[in-house]
């Protein structure tokens, strides 16, 4: 009897460990991330306030960028493709620009943005990035936020090749 109990306990421990590992490796939907700071707001390029709360219910990818940032410019075409690919399934990308608005306007056409570009004063932008966990203050900096408003992922620098698609697929609302 004691032997059977030991075998069952051993099997349960191994099964639980395997399940835990699988969940983390395959982008489980149940995420215990911290909530997006309340009251975050930036502006559109034409000066209208844009509260982050408006994107609640969507999988939100916030990608801070600038025209002087080479890795940002390298990454943006991939983000444009992702927005096109996953818009119908509830992905919303937004691009706060840590830059002069005129410089940003000049790059809107060449980069072919299909998602909103946001702006703020340099100090406000640095402050928001710090609140979102970007201590060094570098770019590109991305934050993936669940439809429930929980931070799923922070990324300083470009997303490694092949990482973003499965991450998005795992958390899309539709």
């Amino acid at each position: 009897m004691r032997s059977i109990t030991l075998i069952v306990v051993a099997a349960l421990i191994a099964a639980a460990a395997g399940y835990f590992f699988y969940r983390h490796e395959h982008g489980a939907q149940a995420v215990g991330g911290e909530p997006l700071p309340a009251g975050l707001q930036l502006s559109s390029l034409d000066g209208h306030p844009q509260a982050f709360e408006q994107w609640r219910g969507k999988l939100l990818l916030v990608n801070f960028w600038a025209t002087w940032c080479t890795p940002c410019l390298h990454e943006i075409p991939d983000l444009v493709k992702l927005q096109k690919q996953y818009a119908a399934r509830g992905l919303q990308i937004v691009g706060p620009a840590v830059d002069d608005p005129d410089a940003v306007r000049g790059m809107q056409g060449p980069l072919g943005f299909n998602y909103p570009i946001l702006t703020a004063t340099p100090d406000a932008m640095i402050d928001i990035m710090e609140k979102l966990g970007n201590g060094p203050g570098g770019l590109p900096f991305s934050v993936l936020v669940s439809p429930e408003g929980l931070i799923l992922k922070r990324q300083l620098g470009e997303f490694p090749a092949g990482q973003l698609n499965p991450l998005i697929e795992a958390h899309l609302p539709h």
Binding site: S3, L6, I7, V9, A10, A11, I13, A14, A16, A17, G18, F20, F21, R23, H24, E25, A66, W68, C69, T70, P71, C72, L73, H74, V98, P122, I126, G133, N134, G135, P136, G137, G138, L139, P140, F141, K153, R154, Q155, L156, G157, E158
Partner: protein, 160 residues
């Protein structure tokens, strides 16, 4: 099954659990920690050391941390005081040419120690400067343009 075999099975299962948990924790840590890699803040990556003048020679110097670089075309120096002093564009050493398709081809960058020489004109030498520069980490992260106000140290009357 012997008691020894049973305990061996149990220990094996616990080992699997510990290893799986560790691997999962590592994986989770890698995901959460991508924002706080060991990157320096801009002030530590690009240290503006001093602006020094000795007679007509004026120079501004930086110390760039290993793994970071400054763009030549983003270095600018202006005189703030006295208003009558005039500065030419900084004379910079030849940098390293690197390919940068996003910035229109090749760009010139600096690693390590950097000095900019400045030629000034006017009756009074520059005493206070506004220095702007911008750079990146080799790790693929760029920093916003930095602007610093710096007083010029006059070395003209110091003993050799």
């Amino acid at each position: 099954m012997t008691r020894a075999a049973l305990y061996a099975t149990l220990h094996l299962a616990i080992g699997v659990a510990v290893l799986s948990g560790t691997a999962a924790a590592d994986s989770l840590w890698a995901r959460k920690d991508s924002s706080s890699r060991d990157l320096l803040k801009a002030d530590d990556a690009f240290r503006l050391i001093a602006a020094e003048r000795e007679g007509k020679d004026l120079r501004v110097s930086w110390e760039i941390a290993p793994g970071y670089y400054l763009y030549r075309k983003r270095i600018k120096v202006q005189v703030l005081a006295p208003a009558a002093a005039k500065l030419d564009a900084p004379v910079l050493p030849k940098g390293e040419l690197v390919a940068d398709a996003e910035q229109g081809g090749k760009v010139e960058i600096y690693h390590g120690s950097l000095q900019a020489e400045l030629h000034w004109s006017g009756n009074s030498p520059p005493q206070r400067l506004r220095v702007s520069y911008q750079g990146c980490a080799e790790a693929g992260v760029c920093y916003p343009p930095q602007t610093k106000l710096i007083d010029v140290i006059d070395l003209s009357h110091q003993a050799p």
